[in-house]
C-alpha cells in the first residue's frame, strides 16, 4: 500500500471515527482506532522488511565480494612472499659485492707493494747506484711484474664488474616494493569503503585491467603464463618462429 493510499484510507477512517464518537458509538469508535493502529503497523512492518532485505544483500555482497577474497587469499600472502624475496635479493647483492671487494683488495695490495719496491730499485738505477748484475736482476723482476700486473688488473676489473652487476637488484626490488605498496593502498581503500558501506549499497567489484603488467618474477609465485629465465624466453620465441 503506497503512502497516498494509506493516507486516504486513514483520512476516511478518521472521518468515520469522528462520526462514531459524535454519535456516542464507543465500540465502533474503538474498533476504528484499532484499524488506524493496524495501518501504522503495516507501514512499520514494510519499513522493517525493506531494511532487512537491504542488510541481507549488503552482507551477501561482502561474502561474494571477489576483491575481498583476492586480498585475503592471495594478495597478502603474495605481498609477504615478495618482501621476503626483496630481503633475499638485497642480501645476495650485498654478499656478492663484498666478495668481489675482498677478492680485489689483495691484488691491489700486492701490486702496490711491488710498485713501491720496484720504484725504489729504479731510483737506484737512475741514480747510477746499480751495477750490471743487479740491473739484470731488476730487469727480470720488472718483466715479471709487468706480466703479473696485467693479469691482476684484469682480475680487479673483473671484481669491479661483478660489483656493477650486483647493483641490478635495486631496479627489481624497487618494482617489487612498489607493487606491495600499491596492494596495501588497495586494501586500505577497500577497508574504508567497507566502513562507509555499512547499511548502504554493496561495493562494486573492480574490473581486471586487460594487459596489466606483471613486473619482475618472484620464485614460487610464478604462474603458468610467465616464463622462468632467459632460456624459456628464447624457446618461446623460437617456437613461434621469431
Amino acid at each position: 500500500m503506497c503512502d497516498s493510499d494509506s493516507h486516504k484510507e486513514m483520512l476516511s477512517i478518521a472521518k468515520q471515527l469522528v462520526a462514531e464518537l459524535e454519535a456516542g458509538n464507543n465500540d465502533q469508535a474503538t474498533s476504528l482506532v484499532d484499524e488506524l493502529a493496524h495501518i501504522r503497523e503495516g507501514e512499520l512492518f514494510q519499513e522493517i522488511g525493506k531494511l532487512t532485505r537491504e542488510l541481507h544483500s549488503s552482507i551477501t555482497s561482502f561474502e561474494i565480494d571477489s576483491e575481498l577474497c583476492d586480498i585475503t587469499e592471495s594478495d597478502i600472502p603474495d605481498a609477504k612472499e615478495r618482501l621476503n624475496y626483496v630481503i633475499t635479493m638485497t642480501n645476495q647483492s650485498a654478499n656478492r659485492t663484498l666478495t668481489a671487494v675482498e677478492n680485489a683488495i689483495p691484488y691491489c695490495d700486492a701490486l702496490h707493494d711491488k710498485s713501491v719496491q720496484l720504484g725504489a730499485e729504479w731510483k737506484r738505477f737512475v741514480n747510477r747506484e746499480m751495477n750490471a748484475d743487479e740491473f739484470r736482476k731488476v730487469s727480470k723482476t720488472l718483466e715479471g711484474y709487468l706480466a703479473e700486473s696485467e693479469e691482476q688488473l684484469d682480475a680487479v676489473k673483473g671484481a669491479l664488474n661483478e660489483i656493477l652487476m650486483a647493483q641490478e637488484f635495486q631496479d627489481l626490488t624497487s618494482q617489487i616494493i612498489n607493487r606491495v605498496i600499491k596492494m596495501v593502498e588497495d586494501v586500505e581503500s577497500h577497508l574504508v569503503n567497507m566502513i562507509k558501506a555499512t547499511g548502504s549499497a554493496p561495493v562494486a567489484a573492480k574490473e581486471e585491467e586487460k594487459g596489466k603488467l606483471e613486473g619482475p618474477q618472484v620464485p614460487g609465485l610464478s604462474k603458468s603464463e610467465t616464463v622462468n629465465g632467459q632460456d624459456e624466453v628464447d624457446d618461446l620465441l623460437s617456437s613461434l618462429g621469431f
Binding site: N161, Q167, S174, P216, Q217, E225, T226, Q230, L237
Partner: protein, 130 residues
C-alpha cells in the same frame, strides 16, 4: 658480422642504476657511443632527430611504456627498421609474444648476464646482415 662498434645506441629505462649497468656492459663490449633516456616519452623525440642505430629499452615506464615506444618506432617511416632490444622484468608469455608480434628484434628478461646481452646483440645484427 658483428655490429659496428661506433653505432649510436639509445638506452631507455626509468631506473638510472639499470641505465648505468647497461651503458657499462655495452662499453665492455666495445660500444662507446651511447645516449640515455628515462622514459618512452623522452626517448621518441631523441630517436626522431638523433640518427640512432640501435634501441635498448625497458617495458614498464610511467610515461610511455617500452611496448608503446616500439609501436611508435615501427609506425614512423624514418624509424621503422631500427633494431630494438627489450630488456625488461616482464616475463608473461603473452607479453613476450606480443612484443615479438610488434616487431621487437630481441627480448631479454631481468636479471640478465653480460654474456646474454652480447649474444642477443650479435644475433640481432647477424639477422639484419643476412
Amino acid at each position: 658480422m658483428p655490429a659496428n662498434p661506433n653505432m649510436k645506441i639509445l638506452i631507455v629505462d626509468d631506473f638510472s642504476t639499470m641505465r648505468r649497468i647497461i651503458k657499462n656492459l655495452l662499453r665492455d663490449l666495445g660500444y662507446n657511443n651511447t645516449a640515455e633516456a628515462d622514459d618512452g616519452q623522452t626517448a621518441l623525440p631523441m630517436l626522431q632527430s638523433g640518427n640512432f642505430d640501435f634501441l635498448v629499452t625497458d617495458w614498464n615506464m610511467p610515461g610511455m611504456t617500452g611496448i608503446d615506444l616500439l609501436k611508435a618506432v615501427r609506425a614512423d617511416g624514418n624509424l621503422t627498421k631500427l633494431p630494438v632490444l627489450m630488456v625488461t622484468a616482464e616475463a608473461k608469455r603473452e607479453q613476450i609474444v606480443h612484443a615479438a608480434q610488434c616487431g621487437v628484434n630481441g627480448y631479454i628478461i631481468k636479471p640478465f648476464t653480460a654474456a646474454t646481452l652480447k649474444e642477443k646483440i650479435d644475433k640481432i645484427f647477424e639477422r639484419i646482415d643476412s
